[in-house]
């Protein structure tokens, strides 16, 4: 049975294996490669996408669970790539290898939309599901705080 949902605003219909995780659907079927595979078990956050605005691990979320929902990937976060979180990431020179950063940015963007004025502890708690093996945490923390200011003022 075909499943329909939206990805970055575009209607999609999928009639393949309904248990396929959204991660592999967006990567292998739609060729949207910004969403990354890291662990396949929901532990690292590299595959974070938004489902109806909530940060969700794409590797554990099967396609049949998103029927009728709206998925946003890093490619759809902002048409110009200028979401306050993306701008803050660039201002702080956050990335080293960069592989985990799509997931980090998607987590941060969803977090700030629900918690526009976070405390330091809230930033660390909300971002704890995203691993960065290069160890960019100091700058991730600072960038989230900076984006919060931008979101609040803007």
């Amino acid at each position: 049975m075909a499943i329909s949902f939206k990805v970055n605003g575009e209607e999609q219909i999928f009639d393949g294996d309904p248990t396929m995780p959204v991660l592999w659907y967006v990567r292998d079927v739609l060729n949207l490669h910004g969403t990354k595979f890291g662990c396949g078990t929901g532990q690292c956050g590299a595959c974070t996408v938004h489902v109806d605005g909530n940060a969700t691990r794409g590797c554990l979320l099967s396609v049949d669970a998103v029927a009728g929902k709206e998925i946003t990937t890093i490619e759809g976060l902002d048409s110009e790539g200028n979401h306050p979180v993306q701008k803050a990431w660039r201002a702080m020179n956050v990335p080293q290898c960069g592989y985990c950063q799509s997931g980090q940015i998607m987590s941060a963007a969803a977090f700030l939309s629900s918690t526009p004025k976070p405390t330091d502890d809230q930033i660390d708690q909300s971002m704890a599901g995203n691993i960065c093996r290069c160890g960019c945490y100091q700058r991730i923390h600072e960038a989230v705080a900076m984006a919060a200011t931008d979101t609040t003022e803007g």
Binding site: Q43, Y99, C100, Q138
Partner: protein, 790 residues
């Protein structure tokens, strides 16, 4: 045909033997090189001195020999290989080293851009394919991209600037001495020495300039340090920053081609085992699964050959993963079936207590220990570790009509090219290796088993394939950082002075991956903090104990420096405590007076100096002292701290860079520990990109914390028991060192630039352990700390 890395290892073995036999003649060779270099530069230097009365070192590019000459395919200095200029002025520079997060794809081309007076905003970077005869060595490891390429990049930049100036002079019908290149233009200079206002853009000059004959080195002039536009400033973001933050940056798995299939591989749980029989009937029933391909196994020492197994080929990754779960495979026995971490560790500890093979002896250590008032001895353990880079291994291969195209995240693209060619019976010219960004590497992506697997499967199925490793594959089938027991002993006399020092290292060697297991740490590994120790005690014995390897051992960021710094720097703090001394003062006292350690006089028979000529990159204890004092001062060492807070210090020279870390820990009322602050001081010679040096030091602190607290790969019955981040955890943002302050020792260009990818890692774990002891009295000697802390 020997693989690239294998050849390098063999060269290094040969080099170590030569040095052991004839250390003095080796230094003589270096001196000749040095003189030749100085002769070449003499004219430039004296010309410059005639113009300005400033110290010579600040003026000229004074070339020096580096270990690049000992690397396969050395360096290339032809700017036409690395630089293209379009008519619209766009300067395209080729990055020939792989980008895995250190920033080398930005920092190395930036050196060339600065020297040629290019405007960075008009510079575009393209990534080289694996082609060392064309680009020179491309092995992105050993913290040497910048160390080896800063001079060729400057030379090529100066050459292009020269050609652009000549082209402008021809255009204007004047002498080149009347023109000057500056910020993407060549300006006509007036007799007053100021620009006349007339200028030609690089784009306008490109065609004529790039067709010119290359100038010889003697014809070139170089910028002085104060003329650098980008170098030393740290104001240039990495070139991939925008693409990374918008999801457009392309890593290994982000390539796709028409008709591409997806594959995952079931591999033997124990190194050396192979497929005895298998049943794929259930696998082939899964929608999307198309076929299975058997990959031949390999017996150790297998270098970078695949482990073997069964590949499942499907129309998408998910189907391939499900297909693999449905496979039924019977594996053969392996000679490593009995490998057990607990038993092996006990064996290493027992070996560490017995006399070992002496690698370096100073004075009369046996008498010193025999006559000591007391002997203090401790052992420090470190388990195997795995890189766990965020991007699991992956490669895309397309074999068609005797031609093989690869897209992959590889640290050694030419090594991968030659190894893949050998594995498939092809010539290197039939193989193209396109290099993607690397989602972390840390040494794992120097070993191209995953690329060979993809090539084999593509050839077998007659279609392009993306071969993806899962996280479990990555954790269970790695090339692991070696395990070790470091035993340190100190002989103390009646005045509480340390009169004898013994360091015995028991650790399986990387060489077991490349040759029949030698059973002892190699000269190359001993050069990483064992025989090259800065400790200056009168009587010393540096020894290695036997330990055979039972898995695939490979490079991990900072390699053997991790266990050596862990042992030595922890032990020094222990001595300080037992002798009632300040740990920093004890550390400085044991290092002794400022000196460049003379490797011949110090009996460093098996010295490996990271491949660098020793007199150019000596082990200079004044620079080690410098970073210790800088980190200590910035951290407020010696000041009274609030209850529950304490500092720990450690320092280590690795990859010819000096790093000291002071870690502050804070204990909470429930006994848990946090790291509010770290001060890291680094001396990497002339610093090209301070902002990326800081990011590497911040990252090294997190990786150092991870290996101190969590990392341990364990074996039962030959197989790795860890599988994913729940049982091989890495530090998360909620627990990272909250503020890492990086302090860089400032040097002019004349102090040779060295790398920063690895040297931040080794001092962190001992500095943390020393801080925990100072705060709680809990002395930790086994990595990882795990439940033993907090």
């Amino acid at each position: 045909m020997k693989s690239h890395i294998e050849q390098e290892i063999l060269d290094q073995i040969a080099g170590i033997d030569r040095r052991a036999n004839n250390a003095e003649s080796r230094f003589e060779i270096s001196k000749v090189n040095r003189r030749q270099f100085l002769k070449i530069t003499g004219s430039t230097a004296s010309l410059a001195i005639g113009m300005q009365l400033v110290p010579k070192t600040a003026l000229a590019f004074d070339p020096y020999p580096t270990g690049a000459e000992g690397m396969p395919h050395k360096t290339v200095t032809d700017p036409k290989v690395f630089v293209a200029i379009d008519a619209d002025g766009t300067v395209t520079l080729t990055a020939h080293r792989s980008e895995m997060g250190t920033g080398s794809r930005t920092s190395v081309p930036m050196i060339l851009a600065d020297e040629m007076e290019a405007d960075w905003s008009q510079v575009k970077i393209v990534q080289a394919e694996g082609d060392e005869p064309k680009y020179g060595n491309q092995d992105t490891d050993g913290s040497r991209s910048l160390r080896h390429y800063i001079q060729p990049m400057r030379q090529m930049g100066a050459s292009v600037r020269y050609m652009l100036e000549q082209a402008a002079a021809v255009e204007w019908g004047t002498d080149a001495s009347n023109v000057k290149a500056s910020n993407h233009k060549v300006h006509m200079m007036g007799s007053d020495g100021n620009p006349t206002g007339e200028s030609l853009g690089y784009g306008e000059l490109a065609k004529v300039a790039m067709a010119m004959e290359l100038p010889s080195f003697e014809m070139l002039t170089f910028k002085t340090d104060d003329e650098f536009r980008y170098l030393g400033k740290g104001e240039t973001p990495i070139v991939d920053l925008h693409d990374i933050t918008t999801g457009k940056a392309r890593y290994g798995a982000d390539y796709t081609t028409d008709g591409m299939k997806f594959a995952v591989v079931a591999r033997p749980p124990v190194v050396g085992a192979s497929v005895k029989s298998f049943d794929s009937s259930e696998t082939l029933k899964i929608p999307g699964v198309e076929s299975v391909v058997e990959i031949a196994g390999s017996m150790p020492p297998a270098k970078f050959a695949p482990l073997g197994g069964i590949a499942v080929v499907a129309t998408n990754t998910w189907a391939a993963i499900k297909g693999r779960e449905a496979l039924k495979i019977e594996w053969s026995e392996s000679l490593h079936d009995a490998y057990n971490t607990a038993a092996f560790t006990e064996q290493m500890r027992a070996t560490a207590k017995k006399p070992g093979k002496v690698m370096r002896s100073v004075g009369d250590p046996d008498s010193a220990f025999a006559n000591a008032k007391k002997v203090i001895a401790h052992e420090y353990y470190q388990p195997h570790m795995q890189h766990a880079q965020m991007e699991p291994l992956v490669a895309v291969a397309d074999y068609k009509d005797g031609k093989l195209d690869i897209w992959a995240p590889v640290q050694s693209p030419y090594g991968a090219r030659t190894d893949v060619a050998t594995a498939l019976g092809l010539k290197p010219e039939q193989v193209t290796v396109n290099v993607s960004l690397l989602g972390g590497g840390f040494g794992r992506k120097s070993k191209c088993d995953y690329v060979i697997e993809a090539a084999i499967v593509s050839k077998e199925i007659g279609a392009p394939v993306k071969l993806q490793w899962t996280r479990e594959d990555d954790i269970k089938h790695g090339f692991y950082h070696t395990t070790s027991v470091e035993r340190l002993e100190a002989a103390i006399d009646d005045n509480d002075k340390v009169i004898g020092w013994r360091h015995r290292s028991v650790s399986p060697t990387i060489f077991s991956t490349f040759m029949p297991d030698p059973g002892f740490t190699s000269g190359l590994e001993a050069g990483m903090g064992l025989v090259d120790t800065p400790i200056g005690v009168e009587n010393m014995s540096i020894e290695a104990g036997e330990a055979k390897s039972h898995t695939r051992i490979g490079w991990f960021r900072a390699v053997s420096n991790i266990p050596r710094a862990w042992g030595v720097q922890s032990f020094i703090a222990e001595l300080a405590h037992e002798l009632g001394r300040d740990p920093k003062e004890m550390l400085l006292e044991l290092i002794g007076p400022d000196r460049k350690i003379d490797p011949v006089a110090a009996d460093m028979k098996e010295l490996w100096n990271y491949g660098e000529p020793y007199e150019e990159f000596p082990n200079d204890t004044s620079r080690l002292r410098g970073v210790i004092e800088l980190a200590a001062e910035k951290a407020g060492w010696g000041k009274t701290l609030p209850e529950g807070e304490a500092l720990g210090i450690a320092a280590h020279r690795s990859f010819v860079t000096y790093v000291a870390s002071v870690v502050k820990v804070k204990t909470a009322s429930d006994g848990s520990i946090s790291i509010p602050e770290v001060h890291t001081a680094v001396d990497c010679g002339f610093c090209v990109n301070p902002e990326r040096v800081a990011s590497q030091m911040e990252g090294a602190a997190v990786m150092g914390m991870t290996l101190a607290m969590y990392s341990g790969i364990n074996y039962e019955n030959g197989a790795v028991t860890n599988s994913n981040f729940h049982d091989y955890p890495v530090a998360r943002i909620s627990e990272y060192p909250k503020k890492v302050h990086t302090h860089i020792v400032k040097h002019p260009f004349s102090v040779h630039a060295t790398g920063i990818g690895e040297p931040g890692v080794p001092p962190f774990a001992p500095a943390l352990a020393n801080a925990i002891f100072a705060a709680t009295g809990n002395r930790l000697r086994d990595l990882p700390f795990g439940e033993n802390v907090g």
